[in-house]
Structures are given as structure tokens and as C-alpha cells.
Symmetry: C2
Subunit: 314 residues, 2 copies
């Protein structure tokens, strides 16, 4: 799976929570869906981490910001500045709380006045309900509300199912002309010359199962967003604390490892990734352990991890 | 020299120029003068580097910002935010172009409204002439104009000469009473009981030579600031390019390794540190080589370097 245009692959750039540590960076991840690179959150140092893990700045056209706490946004101005210095001309799309536009635009005006070569398009998120925020031929992206101290959204990235193959024997059997085949692949039925309607499902065979990833941070445990992440192949859920700090997790609107695992279980996720670890944990072992007791296929993420979701036959 | 209250010691946090690389951070250095910690510039990731190299956030009371380009200021909001999250109450002093206050205050108001536990005191720099900007019992700090595309200041940190020792044989010879001794140490003469005035210089012996450090970045070569850095023990001077890019250095108001060395030579500095290397140089060897040809005691800095200026007898 070395061809990045076939991949569904997540690269971890930062895994710490608000207070920095000497070896962890604040939140940032890059998801590659078939050669489209989506940056999710942008803590301080994200651009350095991108250089380190060889993610080209020019590949990023869409940035998704969960909420406006510093550890999720302080890397934005540096990354955008570098794009400006490199003379970027492509539009850059940022999906976030509407207030981010003021925050970033004020800084850009101060630094560059009106000498910014590219257009930055801000897309305000809806913090009340799930919403389709991006769509192209290969992927759909949804935002959905999480439960944090300030308005926060999670994101779900759905690969679109590839078009099915036409069955060779059916083409022959019904003498399906070439000009009809694409339409049938895209979901159409076929009307034979003697007026018989052959349904799409009898003419085609599905290739692969479409893949999906959901990002849930920052949030406390809340049943309300389970439906939005149902059946994802890969789920990232914050686990700032272990159960020994459950009370603190609740009051600060964060989750424990156990709670993250409960979310994964209820959502019937394929694999759970946990991160956003509090600086008080020198070692994430207790958080991981309590999560695995409930949801065994859990991984505690580190900077530089690359997680693939492999193609599966239907 | 493990006692930090006796040290004159520089720690390098970042050495890159504007574009990030995978292994260099933008400009930031911390100077410890006898237990006082001064942060000079604050590029993105400075707080992470401070954690890595074990410089406590609470030790920093004074931050010196040379100029308002992103690679010298993008770490400020993250560092100040961490201080806010840690509940800092001590005043924080920032010496910079007056416009920085608007830039930082707007961000802090956005993030914390009026819930900032400490006072941030902004001290505007003078970009026309040298100025004493800080003084206490042990150290004096001066700013002076450099020559860059936007208003930029260098800084000079002067340890104050320690008070001299009184000579034991003179105390005995002139029967100097205890109550007079501190006054003489601080520079006074002594009037004997028979009316003879013994000058300070005959009664005392100096302990150590006071130490000094100057920081020159960003700037192009310019004779105008040589006088402000004359005879410093340690000089940091930017060397963004090698001579192969001298023309580019001139038009972007940066220096080459050779030019940095010429400054050190004219200023009769003790040791030269060079940094702020352009991302186009994978290896700083050519920059260092041309500098050493002119000023042999030159060091190319790397993240984590600690440079001591040892005490010297007068």
C-alpha cells in the first residue's frame, strides 16, 4: 500500500493536552484519503512535525479545527505564514468555529497587510447538529457536536464506496451496450430489448468496503455523539486522564481511558486510538490498560505513528 | 560552575530562519546571568524546547523580542497561555516594538477575556539609538538598532562588576572600622584620623572581570552597531547565508558567515556564535568555514547547546 492515492492513512503529529511536555506535541493529525490530505487540529509546532514526518505543506487544502482552545490552534498562524512565504496560490479551506476567522485574520493583517497570495476560505461549523461539511467524488466529511467546555465538533471522514464491477457474464447474457455500462455502475438498472427490467444488484458486484475514520477530541463521555461515529473502522477518542482522575475528567469536560473505550464499544468501531494525554501522566500505560480491558483493539498514539486502514473485500 | 546563581550561561532553543526544517526550531535563546533568566526571541515551539532543556517557565520574568517577524514571535502566545494555565501571578515584562502589545493582547482577550492572573508589562523599544532598558544590582541590559527590513533591535547583557575585596593589610594599616568597609567597597575613599585621604584604588583589589553577551539578529552587516557590542565576551550574530548567497543576504537584510565574523572581529568579541541558518543549507559547514577563516573562535549553534562564559580574574 505504498501508493498514497490508494491509502486511507492517519499520521499522528501531536498527542499532548494543553500543557506541553518535553516529548509530546499538542494535537494535530493528518488523514490521507486516496491522496487527499486533511489536517485535523493544529497545535503549536504542527508545521515542524509535518516537516519531520514528510507531509508537504502544499498537500494540505483543508484544515479542520475542533474547537478554539490554544493547544488545538496555536500552530495555525505559523503554518499559514509558511504557506505565505512559499508563495502558495491555491485556496486554503478552514472548517472551524466562526470566531477563528477574526483571530487568524487579525494576525495575518498585522503581519502581511494585504500581501497574502492565496485566498483563505473559512467554513463555520454547526455546533447543534451533524452536518455534511465537505464532499467530492471520493470522500464525504461530517462534523458533529461533542461535549466540551466551549463549542466543539468532532469529524467523520467517509470514503465513498467505489463503483461496483459489472459482471462479465451478465453483460454477455443481456447484451448490455458499452454506452449503458457506466450508468449501471453508478446505480442504474437495465431495460432489455424485450422490456424486461434487470435490477442493478443482479448486474454488478461490489469491489471493496468503503473505509471511515472519526475524530473525537476534546470531549467528555456523552451518548449523544455515538450515532455520528457508528461503525467507523478507526476511531480517535481523547483519553486525557485515567479513572483515578475521573472526577477531574468530568469537571474539565475530558474523558478517561475507560470512557473512550466505552464509546468505541457502543459505536462498534474497528480500532480505537487514544491520545491527548495529560502532562501529569509520565507514562500512558494506566490509561491504555483500562481502555483495553473494555475495548481490546486500542492503541495509545505517539508522534510519528502511521495508522493504515486496509482495503477489505465486501 | 553547577551553581546557576554564579553562572553566565546561554542555552540555545532554536537556530533556524523563517522556514521550518525537520530538526531546527526558529529563534529563541535563554541567557542566565547569576540566576536571572532572560528569554530572547520566542519562535514557534519555544515552550516545548524550554521543557526539553529544563528551563522552568516560572524563571522567565523578562522576554526580549528583536523584531516582529513570525519566526521570532509565534511561540509567545503559547508560552504566555501556559503561564496563564499554570496560574502565574508574577508580572511578566516584554521588551519589543510597541505593536506587539496589540498583537498579543488581542489574542489573550480572545482566549481568556479578562481572566489573566498576571500583569503583562510591555516596554517599547527605541529603534533610533542605544538605550538602557533594564537594570538591577547584578546586570544592565541595553537595546540598540540593527539593520533589517523592519524595525529591529539587538540586545547587550552586561554583568555588573562585582564589588572588589578590601585588602587585609590596608585594613590593618589604616585601622579601617567595620562600619566604613562596605562604603569603600562600593567605591568610596578613606579619610584617616590624621586627615590623609586614601583613594579607593589603593584599598581594594578587583575580584573578577564582568561578563557580557550581545545578540544581533536579524540584521545585515552594518558598522553602525559595532560600537554597541564592543568587547563583548560572547556575541551571537545571525549568519543566514554563506557568501555564495551574498546578494540574497543583502537584499533580504541578512548576513553571511563572513560578514558575521567581520562584525566579531571589529567588535573584538571573545567568541562568536552563528545561527539563523537558511533552510536551503542542509549543512552549516560552508557558513562556519568562511566565518572561521576570519574569526577562528566561531561556533555554529545547535538546539540544546549550552555556552558558558567562565569567570576570569581581572
Amino acid at each position: 500500500m505504498s501508493d498514497e492515492t490508494m491509502s486511507f492513512q492517519l499520521t499522528i503529529l501531536g498527542t499532548s493536552s494543553a500543557l506541553p511536555t518535553s516529548n509530546r506535541y499538542p494535537t494535530a493529525q493528518v488523514l490521507n484519503v486516496l491522496g487527499r490530505f486533511f489536517l485535523i487540529d493544529c497545535g503549536e509546532g504542527t508545521q515542524t512535525q509535518m516537516r519531520k514526518f514528510k507531509i508537504g505543506f502544499s498537500k494540505i487544502d483543508h484544515i479542520f479545527i475542533t474547537h478554539l482552545h490554544g493547544d488545538h490552534i496555536f500552530g495555525l498562524i505559523g503554518l499559514i505564514s509558511t504557506m505565505v512565504l512559499l508563495g502558495r496560490e491555491k485556496d486554503l479551506h478552514i472548517y472551524s468555529h466562526s470566531e477563528l476567522q477574526k483571530f487568524i485574520s487579525a494576525q495575518l493583517n498585522f503581519l502581511y497587510a494585504d500581501k497574502i497570495p492565496m485566498k483563505i476560505v473559512f467554513h463555520p461549523l454547526n455546533f447543534k447538529r451533524e452536518q455534511l461539511i465537505y464532499e467530492d467524488a471520493k470522500v464525504s466529511i461530517y462534523s458533529f457536536p461533542l461535549s466540551h467546555r466551549i463549542p466543539t465538533c468532532g469529524f467523520r471522514f467517509d470514503e465513498k464506496p467505489p463503483l461496483p464491477n459489472l459482471l462479465a457474464k451478465k453483460i454477455e447474457e443481456y447484451q448490455i451496450p458499452i454506452c449503458e455500462r457506466q450508468r449501471i455502475k453508478e446505480g442504474g438498472d437495465f431495460l432489455t430489448s424485450n422490456g424486461q427490467l434487470i435490477p442493478h444488484s443482479q448486474l454488478t458486484v461490489k469491489k471493496f468496503k468503503a473505509r471511515s475514520f472519526a475524530f473525537c477530541s476534546d470531549t467528555r463521555f456523552d451518548e449523544s455523539y455515538i450515532e455520528s461515529i457508528k461503525n467507523v473502522d478507526l476511531l480517535y477518542h481523547e483519553a486525557t486522564f485515567a479513572e483515578d482522575n475521573r472526577k477531574l475528567a468530568n469537571t474539565t469536560f475530558h474523558s478517561t481511558g475507560k470512557e473512550a473505550a466505552e464509546v468505541a464499544l457502543k459505536a462498534q468501531a474497528g480500532q480505537l486510538l487514544i491520545g491527548h494525554f495529560s502532562a501529569r501522566y509520565k507514562d500512558h500505560a494506566p490509561i491504555l490498560e483500562e481502555a483495553r480491558a473494555i475495548f481490546p483493539n486500542t492503541k495509545a498514539i505517539s508522534e510519528g505513528d502511521v495508522i493504515q486502514v486496509e482495503k477489505k473485500n465486501v
